[in-house]
Symmetry: C2
Subunit: 111 residues, 2 copies
């Protein structure tokens, strides 16, 4: 499943500083409504104020990094009602393990 | 290829603040010495001062997030001689596109 690639091959972000939310996870067996909700959540995130982009890859472990203009836009997305519902499903049904890391990007380079 | 999983299922990191280096990339076709070098570079990173852990997943896009005690340990790893050689190979041979984002983790939670 190439969720990030549907949004952008590799996210293009503005000059730092901005925020990155690093979500690492391991899925439980079974879909439990994950597939349907995941697509909806990606769409919702993409229209949130301050959303800058997302990269997402899954093998056994999944890593999703979403980029945000500032910490307030990160907080507003965390508090979004439909996202709260997804977070509850995530804790209860979808993930055996996950970590969320909220970080401030200070420097960026690449080719 | 589950490089991150060989090191740890999901990296366990200390209480923030610490640093996360987010590396997103797309590979060129062909190995060009990547497979051999990648394993060596992971081993070298893991014994660098300040190294806290790494998560790494690749489909078409790859995301590797390495965690570091402070910005000085990030800089020291970037300047490591064998890593510099790998960075050169990365730019010239392995990656069609990559971004490196150096970020300071302010908050972490999970299950």
């Amino acid at each position: 499943m190439l969720r990030g690639i549907q949004v952008s091959p590799i996210a293009k972000t503005p000059k730092p500083p901005y925020y990155a939310v690093i979500f690492t996870s391991r899925r439980n067996d079974g879909d439990n409504g994950y597939g349907e909700m995941a697509g909806k959540i990606d769409e919702l995130a993409s229209v949130q104020p301050g959303f800058l982009g997302v990269d997402s890859v899954r093998e056994d472990v999944g890593i999703t990094v979403s980029y945000w203009a500032d910490v307030d836009s990160v907080k507003a997305w965390k508090a979004n009602a439909e996202h709260l519902e997804a977070q509850k499903k995530g804790r209860e049904d979808w993930y055996s393990e996950f970590r969320v890391r909220i970080s401030k990007v200070e420097r960026e380079y690449g080719i």
